[in-house]
Protein backbone atom coordinates (compact mmCIF):
# COMPACT_ATOMS: atom_id res chain seq x y z
CA UNK A 1 0.00 0.00 0.00
CA UNK A 2 1.65 3.22 -1.11
CA UNK A 3 1.43 6.74 0.28
CA UNK A 4 -1.01 9.09 -1.55
CA UNK A 5 -1.16 12.63 -0.09
CA UNK A 6 -4.64 14.13 -0.19
CA UNK A 7 -3.45 17.62 -1.24
CA UNK A 8 -1.98 16.48 -4.58
CA UNK A 9 -3.41 15.79 -8.01
CA UNK A 10 -2.28 12.79 -10.04
CA UNK A 11 -1.94 11.76 -13.68
CA UNK A 12 -2.73 8.19 -14.64
CA UNK A 13 0.89 8.00 -15.80
CA UNK A 14 1.88 8.34 -12.09
CA UNK A 15 3.07 11.96 -11.89
CA UNK A 16 1.85 14.13 -9.03
CA UNK A 17 1.10 17.86 -9.47
CA UNK A 18 0.68 20.60 -6.90
CA UNK A 19 -0.68 24.09 -7.54
CA UNK A 20 1.47 26.58 -5.63
CA UNK A 21 0.33 29.90 -4.16
CA UNK A 22 2.14 31.78 -6.97
CA UNK A 23 0.13 29.95 -9.63
CA UNK A 24 2.95 27.62 -10.75
CA UNK A 25 2.61 23.83 -10.73
CA UNK A 26 5.21 21.51 -9.21
CA UNK A 27 5.56 17.99 -10.67
CA UNK A 28 7.08 14.76 -9.33
CA UNK A 29 6.38 11.03 -9.43
CA UNK A 30 4.19 9.08 -7.03
CA UNK A 31 5.29 6.70 -4.31
CA UNK A 32 3.62 3.93 -6.31
CA UNK A 33 5.75 4.86 -9.36
CA UNK A 34 9.07 4.88 -7.49
CA UNK A 35 8.15 1.59 -5.84
CA UNK A 36 7.46 -0.01 -9.23
CA UNK A 37 10.66 1.43 -10.77
CA UNK A 38 12.99 0.32 -7.98
CA UNK A 39 16.34 2.05 -7.37
CA UNK A 40 16.46 5.22 -9.49
CA UNK A 41 19.96 5.91 -10.84
CA UNK A 42 19.50 8.62 -13.46
CA UNK A 43 16.99 11.32 -14.33
CA UNK A 44 16.95 12.96 -17.76
CA UNK A 45 15.39 16.36 -17.13
CA UNK A 46 13.43 18.62 -19.45
CA UNK A 47 14.88 22.04 -20.22
CA UNK A 48 13.69 25.35 -18.85
CA UNK A 49 11.64 26.99 -21.60
CA UNK A 50 10.25 23.70 -22.98
CA UNK A 51 6.55 24.08 -23.71
CA UNK A 52 4.49 20.94 -23.20
CA UNK A 53 0.96 19.91 -23.97
CA UNK A 54 -0.70 17.65 -21.42
CA UNK A 55 0.74 14.11 -21.65
CA UNK A 56 3.82 15.22 -23.62
CA UNK A 57 6.98 13.35 -22.72
CA UNK A 58 8.89 15.58 -20.28
CA UNK A 59 11.91 13.52 -19.22
CA UNK A 60 13.04 10.02 -18.38
CA UNK A 61 13.58 8.27 -15.07
CA UNK A 62 16.01 5.36 -15.25
CA UNK A 63 16.13 2.77 -12.52
CA UNK A 64 18.59 -0.12 -12.40
CA UNK A 65 15.77 -2.18 -13.88
CA UNK A 66 14.35 -0.02 -16.67
CA UNK A 67 13.88 3.38 -18.30
CA UNK A 68 10.50 5.03 -17.84
CA UNK A 69 9.22 8.19 -19.51
CA UNK A 70 7.73 10.95 -17.42
CA UNK A 71 4.92 13.05 -18.84
CA UNK A 72 3.74 16.55 -18.25
CA UNK A 73 0.45 16.18 -16.37
CA UNK A 74 -0.92 19.45 -17.80
CA UNK A 75 -0.02 21.94 -20.52
CA UNK A 76 2.50 24.63 -19.68
CA UNK A 77 6.01 26.02 -19.91
CA UNK A 78 8.88 24.64 -17.86
CA UNK A 79 10.20 27.36 -15.53
CA UNK A 80 12.55 25.25 -13.39
CA UNK A 81 14.06 21.77 -13.23
CA UNK A 82 15.47 20.08 -10.13
CA UNK A 83 19.21 19.90 -10.82
CA UNK A 84 19.77 18.17 -7.45
CA UNK A 85 18.49 15.00 -9.13
CA UNK A 86 21.61 14.72 -11.29
CA UNK A 87 23.69 14.15 -8.15
CA UNK A 88 21.09 12.36 -6.02
CA UNK A 89 18.55 10.62 -8.27
CA UNK A 90 17.74 8.26 -5.37
CA UNK A 91 15.82 11.14 -3.72
CA UNK A 92 12.91 10.02 -5.89
CA UNK A 93 12.93 6.72 -3.98
CA UNK A 94 13.50 8.02 -0.50
CA UNK A 95 11.15 11.03 -0.61
CA UNK A 96 8.91 10.92 -3.70
CA UNK A 97 6.57 13.71 -2.54
CA UNK A 98 9.31 15.92 -1.14
CA UNK A 99 11.31 15.68 -4.38
CA UNK A 100 10.14 17.66 -7.36
CA UNK A 101 11.30 17.07 -10.95
CA UNK A 102 10.15 20.22 -12.75
CA UNK A 103 7.92 23.27 -12.29
CA UNK A 104 5.46 24.54 -14.88
CA UNK A 105 3.78 27.82 -15.60
CA UNK A 106 0.43 26.28 -16.56
CA UNK A 107 -1.32 27.36 -19.76
CA UNK A 108 -4.57 27.10 -17.82
CA UNK A 109 -4.50 26.46 -14.05
CA UNK A 110 -8.01 24.98 -14.28
CA UNK A 111 -6.45 22.02 -16.15
CA UNK A 112 -5.37 20.73 -12.76
CA UNK A 113 -9.00 19.90 -12.03
CA UNK A 114 -8.91 17.36 -14.87
CA UNK A 115 -6.33 15.28 -13.03
CA UNK A 116 -7.19 12.54 -10.53
CA UNK A 117 -7.58 13.41 -6.88
CA UNK A 118 -6.06 11.16 -4.23
CA UNK A 119 -9.10 8.87 -4.10
CA UNK A 120 -9.22 8.64 -7.89
CA UNK A 121 -5.53 7.80 -8.10
CA UNK A 122 -5.86 5.25 -5.36
CA UNK A 123 -8.57 3.54 -7.38
CA UNK A 124 -6.53 3.83 -10.59
CA UNK A 125 -3.62 1.89 -9.10
CA UNK A 126 -5.93 -0.69 -7.60
CA UNK A 127 -5.30 0.05 -3.94
Amino acid sequence: MSNIPADLRFAESHEWARLEADGTVTVGISDHAQEALGDVVFVELAEVGNVFAAEDQAGVVESVKAASDIYSPIAGEVIAVNDALSGEPELLNTDPYGTWIFKLKPSNPADLEKLLDAAGYKAAIGE
Partner: protein, 360 residues
Protein backbone atom coordinates in the same frame (compact mmCIF):
# COMPACT_ATOMS: atom_id res chain seq x y z
CA UNK B 1 0.90 -18.31 -11.45
CA UNK B 2 4.47 -19.40 -11.94
CA UNK B 3 6.40 -22.24 -10.37
CA UNK B 4 7.46 -21.67 -6.79
CA UNK B 5 10.60 -22.71 -4.94
CA UNK B 6 10.36 -24.14 -1.39
CA UNK B 7 11.30 -20.64 -0.16
CA UNK B 8 8.40 -18.79 -1.80
CA UNK B 9 6.47 -18.09 1.44
CA UNK B 10 9.63 -16.98 3.17
CA UNK B 11 10.41 -14.49 0.39
CA UNK B 12 6.96 -12.94 0.83
CA UNK B 13 7.40 -12.81 4.61
CA UNK B 14 10.73 -11.01 4.07
CA UNK B 15 8.97 -8.36 1.95
CA UNK B 16 10.25 -9.47 -1.44
CA UNK B 17 8.94 -7.91 -4.61
CA UNK B 18 8.31 -11.00 -6.72
CA UNK B 19 8.84 -11.24 -10.47
CA UNK B 20 8.50 -13.89 -13.16
CA UNK B 21 11.82 -15.39 -14.20
CA UNK B 22 11.69 -18.20 -16.74
CA UNK B 23 8.29 -19.32 -15.47
CA UNK B 24 9.26 -19.06 -11.79
CA UNK B 25 7.98 -16.57 -9.22
CA UNK B 26 11.26 -15.27 -7.82
CA UNK B 27 12.32 -12.40 -5.55
CA UNK B 28 13.51 -9.34 -7.54
CA UNK B 29 14.61 -7.53 -4.39
CA UNK B 30 13.64 -7.19 -0.73
CA UNK B 31 13.71 -3.38 -0.70
CA UNK B 32 16.71 -2.00 -2.58
CA UNK B 33 18.61 -4.02 -5.16
CA UNK B 34 21.49 -1.53 -5.04
CA UNK B 35 21.89 -2.06 -1.27
CA UNK B 36 21.73 -5.82 -1.79
CA UNK B 37 24.45 -5.55 -4.43
CA UNK B 38 26.77 -3.65 -2.06
CA UNK B 39 26.00 -6.15 0.70
CA UNK B 40 27.37 -9.02 -1.43
CA UNK B 41 30.47 -7.11 -2.61
CA UNK B 42 31.34 -5.93 0.91
CA UNK B 43 30.12 -8.71 3.22
CA UNK B 44 27.81 -11.50 2.09
CA UNK B 45 24.25 -12.36 1.13
CA UNK B 46 22.10 -15.38 0.40
CA UNK B 47 20.25 -16.06 -2.86
CA UNK B 48 17.52 -18.61 -3.48
CA UNK B 49 18.60 -20.32 -6.71
CA UNK B 50 16.32 -23.34 -6.33
CA UNK B 51 14.77 -22.55 -9.71
CA UNK B 52 17.93 -23.80 -11.39
CA UNK B 53 17.83 -27.32 -12.77
CA UNK B 54 19.98 -30.01 -11.17
CA UNK B 55 20.60 -33.14 -13.28
CA UNK B 56 22.69 -36.10 -12.12
CA UNK B 57 24.24 -38.16 -14.90
CA UNK B 58 25.18 -41.74 -14.09
CA UNK B 59 26.04 -44.91 -16.03
CA UNK B 60 29.19 -46.61 -17.21
CA UNK B 61 29.52 -44.24 -20.18
CA UNK B 62 28.62 -40.99 -18.42
CA UNK B 63 32.07 -39.54 -19.02
CA UNK B 64 32.17 -40.48 -22.72
CA UNK B 65 28.68 -39.07 -23.28
CA UNK B 66 29.49 -35.74 -21.58
CA UNK B 67 32.73 -35.55 -23.58
CA UNK B 68 30.54 -35.70 -26.70
CA UNK B 69 27.81 -33.40 -25.38
CA UNK B 70 29.90 -30.55 -23.94
CA UNK B 71 32.47 -28.14 -25.36
CA UNK B 72 34.61 -28.36 -22.23
CA UNK B 73 36.11 -31.76 -21.40
CA UNK B 74 34.92 -33.50 -18.23
CA UNK B 75 38.09 -35.60 -18.42
CA UNK B 76 39.75 -32.51 -16.94
CA UNK B 77 37.87 -33.16 -13.70
CA UNK B 78 40.65 -35.08 -12.00
CA UNK B 79 38.95 -36.78 -9.12
CA UNK B 80 35.76 -36.41 -7.20
CA UNK B 81 35.01 -32.90 -6.00
CA UNK B 82 36.15 -30.84 -8.98
CA UNK B 83 33.91 -28.63 -11.12
CA UNK B 84 34.09 -26.92 -14.50
CA UNK B 85 32.10 -24.45 -16.56
CA UNK B 86 31.00 -25.55 -20.01
CA UNK B 87 28.87 -24.64 -22.97
CA UNK B 88 26.57 -27.21 -24.54
CA UNK B 89 26.54 -26.47 -28.27
CA UNK B 90 24.35 -27.33 -31.22
CA UNK B 91 25.81 -28.58 -34.52
CA UNK B 92 26.02 -25.00 -35.80
CA UNK B 93 28.22 -24.10 -32.85
CA UNK B 94 25.47 -22.08 -31.12
CA UNK B 95 25.05 -22.25 -27.37
CA UNK B 96 22.16 -24.50 -26.27
CA UNK B 97 22.98 -23.68 -22.65
CA UNK B 98 25.85 -23.01 -20.27
CA UNK B 99 26.32 -24.92 -17.03
CA UNK B 100 28.57 -26.01 -14.21
CA UNK B 101 29.48 -29.71 -14.09
CA UNK B 102 30.53 -31.20 -10.74
CA UNK B 103 32.19 -34.58 -10.50
CA UNK B 104 30.65 -36.40 -7.56
CA UNK B 105 31.41 -39.85 -6.19
CA UNK B 106 28.78 -41.68 -8.18
CA UNK B 107 27.96 -39.27 -10.98
CA UNK B 108 28.38 -35.99 -12.74
CA UNK B 109 26.08 -33.29 -11.44
CA UNK B 110 24.97 -30.71 -14.02
CA UNK B 111 23.44 -27.39 -12.92
CA UNK B 112 21.74 -25.74 -15.89
CA UNK B 113 19.58 -22.65 -16.28
CA UNK B 114 15.95 -22.58 -15.16
CA UNK B 115 14.51 -20.93 -18.26
CA UNK B 116 16.17 -23.50 -20.55
CA UNK B 117 15.16 -26.57 -18.55
CA UNK B 118 12.73 -28.01 -21.11
CA UNK B 119 14.95 -27.47 -24.15
CA UNK B 120 17.99 -28.83 -22.29
CA UNK B 121 16.22 -32.00 -21.17
CA UNK B 122 14.87 -32.60 -24.68
CA UNK B 123 18.26 -31.87 -26.25
CA UNK B 124 20.13 -34.22 -23.93
CA UNK B 125 17.57 -37.02 -24.09
CA UNK B 126 17.65 -36.90 -27.88
CA UNK B 127 21.43 -37.43 -27.77
CA UNK B 128 21.55 -40.36 -25.37
CA UNK B 129 21.66 -42.76 -28.36
CA UNK B 130 23.18 -46.08 -27.38
CA UNK B 131 25.28 -44.63 -24.53
CA UNK B 132 24.90 -46.46 -21.24
CA UNK B 133 23.85 -43.29 -19.43
CA UNK B 134 20.99 -42.31 -17.13
CA UNK B 135 19.82 -38.74 -16.46
CA UNK B 136 18.14 -38.02 -13.13
CA UNK B 137 16.58 -34.63 -12.66
CA UNK B 138 16.49 -33.63 -8.98
CA UNK B 139 13.45 -31.37 -8.43
CA UNK B 140 13.30 -32.49 -4.79
CA UNK B 141 16.46 -30.49 -4.09
CA UNK B 142 16.73 -26.79 -3.29
CA UNK B 143 19.78 -24.64 -3.92
CA UNK B 144 21.11 -21.60 -2.06
CA UNK B 145 24.01 -19.41 -3.11
CA UNK B 146 25.82 -17.61 -0.30
CA UNK B 147 28.21 -15.12 -1.85
CA UNK B 148 30.56 -12.41 -0.68
CA UNK B 149 34.01 -12.03 0.92
CA UNK B 150 32.72 -13.23 4.33
CA UNK B 151 30.35 -15.91 3.03
CA UNK B 152 32.41 -19.01 3.76
CA UNK B 153 33.49 -17.87 7.20
CA UNK B 154 29.95 -16.97 8.23
CA UNK B 155 28.39 -20.17 6.92
CA UNK B 156 31.09 -22.29 8.53
CA UNK B 157 29.95 -20.94 11.92
CA UNK B 158 26.34 -21.97 11.32
CA UNK B 159 26.67 -25.59 10.18
CA UNK B 160 27.82 -28.91 11.65
CA UNK B 161 31.46 -29.54 12.43
CA UNK B 162 32.00 -31.78 9.40
CA UNK B 163 30.35 -29.31 7.00
CA UNK B 164 32.33 -26.50 8.56
CA UNK B 165 35.64 -28.26 7.94
CA UNK B 166 34.57 -29.11 4.39
CA UNK B 167 33.82 -25.40 3.78
CA UNK B 168 37.30 -24.50 5.01
CA UNK B 169 38.92 -27.14 2.80
CA UNK B 170 37.16 -26.41 -0.48
CA UNK B 171 39.21 -24.63 -3.12
CA UNK B 172 37.57 -22.51 -5.82
CA UNK B 173 35.56 -24.67 -8.24
CA UNK B 174 35.42 -27.64 -5.90
CA UNK B 175 32.31 -29.26 -4.44
CA UNK B 176 31.69 -32.22 -2.14
CA UNK B 177 28.75 -34.01 -0.57
CA UNK B 178 28.30 -34.09 3.19
CA UNK B 179 25.34 -36.25 4.14
CA UNK B 180 22.39 -35.07 2.08
CA UNK B 181 23.98 -31.67 1.38
CA UNK B 182 26.24 -30.86 -1.54
CA UNK B 183 28.50 -27.88 -0.86
CA UNK B 184 30.46 -26.20 -3.66
CA UNK B 185 32.74 -23.17 -3.82
CA UNK B 186 31.16 -21.73 -6.96
CA UNK B 187 28.90 -18.81 -7.78
CA UNK B 188 27.75 -16.14 -10.18
CA UNK B 189 28.80 -12.88 -8.56
CA UNK B 190 32.56 -12.53 -8.99
CA UNK B 191 33.00 -12.93 -5.23
CA UNK B 192 34.10 -15.88 -3.14
CA UNK B 193 31.24 -17.97 -1.82
CA UNK B 194 29.30 -21.19 -1.78
CA UNK B 195 26.46 -22.89 -3.55
CA UNK B 196 24.67 -25.43 -1.37
CA UNK B 197 22.28 -28.04 -2.75
CA UNK B 198 20.09 -29.54 -0.04
CA UNK B 199 16.76 -31.34 0.39
CA UNK B 200 13.86 -28.95 -0.28
CA UNK B 201 12.31 -29.55 3.14
CA UNK B 202 15.49 -28.33 4.88
CA UNK B 203 15.85 -25.19 2.76
CA UNK B 204 13.39 -22.81 4.51
CA UNK B 205 14.86 -23.59 7.94
CA UNK B 206 18.43 -23.07 6.75
CA UNK B 207 17.59 -19.89 4.83
CA UNK B 208 15.82 -18.58 7.92
CA UNK B 209 18.85 -19.40 10.08
CA UNK B 210 21.09 -17.44 7.71
CA UNK B 211 18.79 -14.41 7.73
CA UNK B 212 18.54 -14.68 11.51
CA UNK B 213 22.35 -14.61 11.67
CA UNK B 214 22.34 -11.30 9.83
CA UNK B 215 23.00 -12.55 6.30
CA UNK B 216 20.88 -10.46 3.93
CA UNK B 217 18.59 -12.13 1.43
CA UNK B 218 19.47 -10.99 -2.11
CA UNK B 219 17.12 -10.92 -5.10
CA UNK B 220 17.55 -11.51 -8.81
CA UNK B 221 18.01 -7.78 -9.43
CA UNK B 222 21.33 -7.69 -7.57
CA UNK B 223 22.24 -11.12 -8.96
CA UNK B 224 22.06 -9.56 -12.43
CA UNK B 225 24.18 -6.48 -11.65
CA UNK B 226 26.72 -8.60 -9.75
CA UNK B 227 27.18 -11.05 -12.62
CA UNK B 228 27.29 -8.18 -15.13
CA UNK B 229 30.09 -6.46 -13.19
CA UNK B 230 31.89 -9.83 -13.04
CA UNK B 231 31.51 -10.16 -16.83
CA UNK B 232 29.55 -13.39 -16.63
CA UNK B 233 27.14 -14.21 -19.43
CA UNK B 234 23.40 -14.51 -18.89
CA UNK B 235 21.79 -17.18 -21.04
CA UNK B 236 19.09 -15.75 -23.30
CA UNK B 237 20.77 -12.34 -23.36
CA UNK B 238 24.52 -12.57 -23.96
CA UNK B 239 24.41 -16.10 -25.32
CA UNK B 240 21.80 -18.17 -27.10
CA UNK B 241 21.27 -20.78 -29.83
CA UNK B 242 22.62 -18.51 -32.58
CA UNK B 243 25.70 -17.21 -30.77
CA UNK B 244 29.07 -18.91 -30.97
CA UNK B 245 31.04 -19.23 -27.72
CA UNK B 246 33.96 -17.71 -29.68
CA UNK B 247 31.90 -14.51 -29.98
CA UNK B 248 30.85 -14.62 -26.33
CA UNK B 249 34.11 -14.50 -24.37
CA UNK B 250 33.85 -18.27 -23.78
CA UNK B 251 36.78 -19.52 -25.88
CA UNK B 252 38.63 -20.36 -22.64
CA UNK B 253 35.96 -22.94 -21.81
CA UNK B 254 36.39 -24.90 -25.05
CA UNK B 255 38.71 -27.90 -24.70
CA UNK B 256 40.36 -28.36 -28.12
CA UNK B 257 42.69 -31.09 -26.86
CA UNK B 258 42.57 -34.00 -27.38
CA UNK B 259 42.08 -33.21 -31.06
CA UNK B 260 40.15 -36.43 -31.56
CA UNK B 261 37.36 -35.54 -29.11
CA UNK B 262 34.41 -35.01 -31.40
CA UNK B 263 32.10 -32.83 -29.28
CA UNK B 264 28.88 -31.49 -30.78
CA UNK B 265 29.59 -28.17 -32.50
CA UNK B 266 33.33 -28.74 -32.87
CA UNK B 267 33.31 -28.81 -36.67
CA UNK B 268 31.34 -25.56 -36.82
CA UNK B 269 33.71 -23.81 -34.41
CA UNK B 270 36.76 -25.01 -36.36
CA UNK B 271 35.23 -23.70 -39.57
CA UNK B 272 34.54 -20.39 -37.84
CA UNK B 273 38.15 -20.18 -36.66
CA UNK B 274 39.41 -21.01 -40.15
CA UNK B 275 37.68 -18.00 -41.71
CA UNK B 276 38.24 -15.80 -38.66
CA UNK B 277 35.80 -15.03 -35.84
CA UNK B 278 33.76 -12.00 -36.90
CA UNK B 279 32.49 -10.76 -33.54
CA UNK B 280 33.65 -10.54 -29.96
CA UNK B 281 32.09 -9.71 -26.61
CA UNK B 282 33.50 -6.56 -25.02
CA UNK B 283 32.71 -4.39 -22.05
CA UNK B 284 31.42 -0.83 -22.40
CA UNK B 285 31.65 1.95 -19.82
CA UNK B 286 29.48 5.05 -20.13
CA UNK B 287 31.33 8.01 -18.65
CA UNK B 288 28.34 10.33 -18.94
CA UNK B 289 25.08 10.06 -17.04
CA UNK B 290 22.62 7.57 -18.45
CA UNK B 291 22.04 3.83 -18.54
CA UNK B 292 23.12 1.38 -21.22
CA UNK B 293 20.49 -1.26 -22.01
CA UNK B 294 20.31 -4.48 -24.00
CA UNK B 295 19.73 -4.05 -27.76
CA UNK B 296 21.08 -0.50 -27.99
CA UNK B 297 23.23 -0.05 -31.08
CA UNK B 298 27.00 0.37 -30.72
CA UNK B 299 28.87 2.28 -33.43
CA UNK B 300 32.65 2.05 -33.82
CA UNK B 301 34.17 4.58 -36.19
CA UNK B 302 35.71 2.99 -39.31
CA UNK B 303 34.94 -0.51 -37.98
CA UNK B 304 31.20 -1.08 -37.95
CA UNK B 305 28.26 -1.68 -35.69
CA UNK B 306 27.45 -3.98 -32.83
CA UNK B 307 24.79 -4.39 -30.16
CA UNK B 308 24.57 -4.30 -26.39
CA UNK B 309 23.59 -7.73 -25.04
CA UNK B 310 23.31 -6.75 -21.35
CA UNK B 311 23.43 -3.30 -19.86
CA UNK B 312 22.63 -1.78 -16.50
CA UNK B 313 23.87 0.51 -13.79
CA UNK B 314 26.94 -0.72 -11.91
CA UNK B 315 26.45 0.00 -8.21
CA UNK B 316 30.17 -0.59 -7.54
CA UNK B 317 31.37 1.82 -10.23
CA UNK B 318 28.43 4.24 -9.90
CA UNK B 319 28.13 4.39 -13.67
CA UNK B 320 26.53 2.41 -16.41
CA UNK B 321 28.27 -0.63 -17.92
CA UNK B 322 27.35 -3.14 -20.58
CA UNK B 323 28.38 -6.25 -22.43
CA UNK B 324 28.26 -5.75 -26.19
CA UNK B 325 28.90 -7.89 -29.23
CA UNK B 326 30.97 -5.88 -31.72
CA UNK B 327 33.12 -6.55 -34.80
CA UNK B 328 36.35 -8.31 -33.76
CA UNK B 329 38.51 -5.42 -35.01
CA UNK B 330 36.82 -3.01 -32.54
CA UNK B 331 38.62 0.02 -31.01
CA UNK B 332 39.00 1.50 -27.55
CA UNK B 333 36.23 4.06 -28.07
CA UNK B 334 32.71 3.63 -29.40
CA UNK B 335 29.33 5.34 -29.34
CA UNK B 336 25.98 4.02 -28.16
CA UNK B 337 22.57 5.27 -29.24
CA UNK B 338 20.29 6.03 -26.30
CA UNK B 339 16.87 7.47 -27.19
CA UNK B 340 18.08 8.90 -30.48
CA UNK B 341 21.28 10.48 -29.15
CA UNK B 342 24.82 9.10 -29.47
CA UNK B 343 26.89 8.84 -26.29
CA UNK B 344 30.64 8.10 -26.19
CA UNK B 345 31.66 4.92 -24.35
CA UNK B 346 34.94 3.31 -23.43
CA UNK B 347 35.54 -0.23 -24.77
CA UNK B 348 37.14 -2.48 -22.12
CA UNK B 349 37.73 -6.14 -21.35
CA UNK B 350 34.39 -7.60 -20.29
CA UNK B 351 35.25 -7.97 -16.60
CA UNK B 352 34.54 -4.88 -14.54
CA UNK B 353 34.76 -6.00 -10.92
CA UNK B 354 36.11 -9.15 -9.27
CA UNK B 355 36.63 -9.88 -5.58
CA UNK B 356 35.60 -6.38 -4.64
CA UNK B 357 38.21 -4.77 -6.91
CA UNK B 358 37.56 -2.55 -9.89
CA UNK B 359 39.36 -3.84 -12.98
CA UNK B 360 38.69 -1.09 -15.49
Amino acid sequence: MGQRTPLYDLHLALGAKMVDFGGWDMPLHYGSQVEEHHQVRRDCGVFDVSHMTVIDVTGSQAKEWLQHLLANDVDRLHGCGRALYSAMLNERGGVVDDMIVYRTEAAYRLVVNAATRDQDMAWMQARLGSYNVQMHERPELAMLAIQGPHARQKIAELVTQSRSSLIHQLKPFEGQADGDWFIARTGYTGEDGLEIVLPADQAPGFFNDLVGAGISPIGLGARDTLRLEAGMNLYGQDIHQDVSPLAANMAWSIAWEPAGRNFIGRAALEAELAVGVQFKLVGLVLEERGVLRAHQVVRIANVGEGEITSGSFSPTLSKSIALARVPTATADRAEVEIRGKWYPVRVVKPTFVRHGKTLI
